[in-house]
Amino acid sequence: MKNMTIESLIAARDASSAEKPVLATVVQDKGNNLDTAIEAYRKGWVKLLLLGNTDLIKQKLQVAHVDPADCIIEQTDSIFALLTRLHDWCVKEGVDVLLAGDLSGREISHLLTNPYHQVTLEGGLSRACVLSLPNYPKLLTIIGGVGSDVYGSEFLTIHLKNSVHLTKALKIKNPKIALLSAMDQVGIDDMHTYDCQCLINMVNLEQIEGINIAGPMSFDTAVNRKAASYFQNDDKVSGDADVIIVDSHQTRSVLALTLTCFGAASAARVLLGGRIPVAVIPGRGTLSDKIAGIALALEMSPYLRFAVPQDWLSDRNPIDYVWK
């Protein structure tokens, strides 16, 4: 089977004849991401649900030569009404993919992580950048935190759970997950390496089951077999990683941009943690760069709607540990 790439994800969307999924976004004042949503609509990928300032929405659609009657448009005035309506859409009316549009990161985070909205999957958010590179034989995903400097094994666990969902949604068999660090060992003065080792210990104690994970490891050990062979590890991840979990959103951004700016990588970005994937649209780049996020989110959407939360390390009866 030919390896999946970002280009093949887009081509699969172009060729799809199934019923059109629904893409929802919010247009309040700026119309962020609306051009990308319209492009997905033009390509015949999605039906559009647009919420917010109806006058602005209609004006933007007319400029783009899209008939407003072909889209579902609703007026809302307050942010509370907006989030409540989005909640109804996500839970009852079958929205498949969200675009943040004019919603802030905080509002999107609230929608996906507040249990009231019933779209929470793992109780925390991760941002994933899926890359296809000329120099790497398969998709490489970089996953890290969202929006502010948050660290620790608790967040690494969330990213790990979301990584498992991402690989399942993309049908990657036996995914290999690397915990990235600057060095390949626990550093005395580097707390992140302690957090990585903490997760590995949980795997060794079978508190986390059924995944191939290794770390802390540096980037070259994760993706380069020659560098990995230096340590003669018997783990399956070194040199062949599918997913790289990083310490912070700063590292994720720098690493993803390094590979797109200097490595000719194609990238698709998505926000994970809810049952509805949120396509992330880069501020810069061509329209095809921007639309890749929607293609990825559409690919993941059918899986996420019915995904079962990973039960390890959360809400577990203490008696389980006793019996183990």
């Binding site: 590179l133 120099n135 790497y136 502010s148 400097d149 990235l180 660090s181 600057a182 060095m183 060992q185 550093g187 005395i188 003065d189 580097d190 992140h192 540096s218 980037f219 070259d220 050990t221 993706v223 380069n224 020659k226 560098a227 230096y230 990083v246 310490d247 912070s248 959103h249 700063q250 590292t251 994720r252 951004s253 720098v254 690493l255 941009l257 390094t258 590979l259 797109t260 700016c261 200097f262 490595g263 990588a265 810069r284």
Partner: protein
Amino acid sequence: MIALEPVKTLRTINDLAKSIVAESGQFNLGVVQGEDAQMIEGLELARVEGLINPILFGNKKKIESILKKLNIEKRVYTIVHTESQPSSVLQAAELVVKGEIDILSPGNIALPEFFRLLFDKNCTFRRRGDFISIIGVMEHTSFEGLLLISDVGLVPDPTVDEGIRIINNATHIAKLLGINPIRVGLLAFEDEMTPNSPTTVAESIISQFFQREHDPSIIVKGPIRLDQAMQPDALPLMPTGDIEPGRADILIANNIHSGNSMYKAMMTLCDAASAPIAYGGRCPFALVTRSESPQNILNSISLCILVAADETDKGN
């Protein structure tokens, strides 16, 4: 010796090193735990070009067997037999302090362990006020000239003070390479300071600090995203005096993980070439990661020769 014109390629660094050696003679390069085939391959390139006189510290038998395997005559290398890693580090450091070694390099020893032993209280290597950071001088087809990135593997989570010293070390190398003005981008997730992100707050403070210094040859902007920093009009955004906007010459990572990952991503998946160097101590350090080619070791040694010659000029 400062290059008069901006150095645009790693090859030019190698040529400059050759011209320095032609004037002042070969440089003594010590390798701690020299039983490392990859390092010896790189050393051999530099030795054949007449740049260095290599001194290998480590297990003599193992080193000789590697030399034999690589078809290198053992008599052209000075081998100092040592029984352990600490002993290798201490003996090499002692020769640096005496001025008998100009450049130091870690061979078959983990970098954190190498520097831990070097900065141990039993070792006289570290001087008061020394601050060492690693700088990668990168060459890549997607941009013209060289790009410096730092810190790529030594300072775990820099404070504001350490951030400033990392920039000072990197700008020193940039000056040696004839870059003027020097445009520095402090990398972050976003282009503006946000109060709930300590990284962007720290970078904003550092940026303000350099504005206050009023040194027209160093322009620091941060926080800035990597793609924005590489735009042709990134720094300064508005022309300052005679200074035309240009892309960043130096990228400073917010912590060791992002700097190290960026460097290794460029080396492993982006086909970049590099000359890594650890700078800020008693002597420059030639470095190499496991996935790099012998050519990069030669580049690193050439850059170290430029730095060592400059330090000698200053009488250090």
